[in-house]
Symmetry: C2
Subunit: 155 residues, 2 copies
DNA sequence: TTGTTTGCAAACCTTTTGCACGTTA
DNA sequence: TAACGTGCAAAAGGTTTGCAAACAA
């Protein structure tokens, strides 16, 4: 288990994503490329609104929300991005590592901060359970709710 | 671990819920009571729409969606109900067992069916992990995605 | 009586869709 | 040039809120 995504892994993801987009017969439009480039820099999940805000703040492009959503849909269909639902009614998106390595999320009830969580024992227990089910599991999400260290101290 | 909720446990939950509502200084209105009575009969989660449809179909009351949502909010605040987000943008709600016993969910990508999942080893791994985090975990959700037995056979 | 609960309608917010225009291969 | 991608505006779907009337304690 690795808790850090390196610079080269990020660049690798962007390259992989653009190759997959091209291989799918899709073209290189500005909005989708901007979304890919922004996601490549992320370790954890962002909302569509956060993605758009970041792109609008950066010089160059001013994609519409629709284009951001369409890009995220396409990337999700290509398994390049994971859509994450942490409660509330806002979806979040994060790059999907090609090697299947992934993490889960802890959401603070105090400040709303989202933290990435990784645990091999948990993954192992999950896979063992999945093997016993009459259900073909191809993905799983785990979300922890509670209070982060800072909000716990402040209570 | 118990995979079945007995009739007496359901009645117990309804009684507990009404006592908690009363203890919180709230009154006994018809819409909220109808929601409590319906949830008491459930083992797994329902959407607000499903709850309202069931209440409208039953004789007696015809609560508005707003009242259903308000009742669910109140019950969630009192920790009598768990709000469950399984992806998509529809929230689901299920009665929270007083003893903390709970289950997780598997969502079929084919038919959308939701199945309850229980596993002690998984819970144990989760708690061990939680103990090591600088994060005070007070709840967790696990969602499996994939294909149910029927949809797997049909593929 | 007093404050809570309810139903309706309108408002909100996120996400999706229709459409005309611009762009890529 | 033909198909795909983009931006804008409108639509859609779920959830929340404002408000006046009904109701419980």
């Amino acid at each position: 288990m690795r808790s850090v995504t390196t610079q080269s892994e990020r660049a690798e993801w962007a390259r992989h994503a653009e190759a997959a987009i091209s291989a799918a017969g899709l073209r290189a439009g500005g909005a989708r490329k901007a979304v890919v480039d922004l996601l490549a820099q992320q370790d954890c999940c962002l909302t569509a609104q956060e993605i758009r805000d970041a792109l609008v703040a950066a010089p160059g492009s001013t994609p519409g929300m629709a284009s951001v959503y369409r890009a995220l849909d396409t990337l999700t269909d290509l398994h390049l991005v994971h859509r994450v639902d942490l409660g509330g009614q806002v979806a979040r998106y994060e790059p999907a590592r090609a090697d299947g390595d992934h993490h889960h999320h802890a959401v603070c009830r105090g400040c709303g901060a989202v933290t990435a969580i990784e645990d091999d024992a948990l993954e192992s227990a999950l896979h063992q359970m999945a093997d016993r089910l009459a259900f073909e599991v191809d993905a799983h999400d785990i979300t922890l709710h509670g209070y982060c260290a800072r909000c716990t101290a402040r209570k």
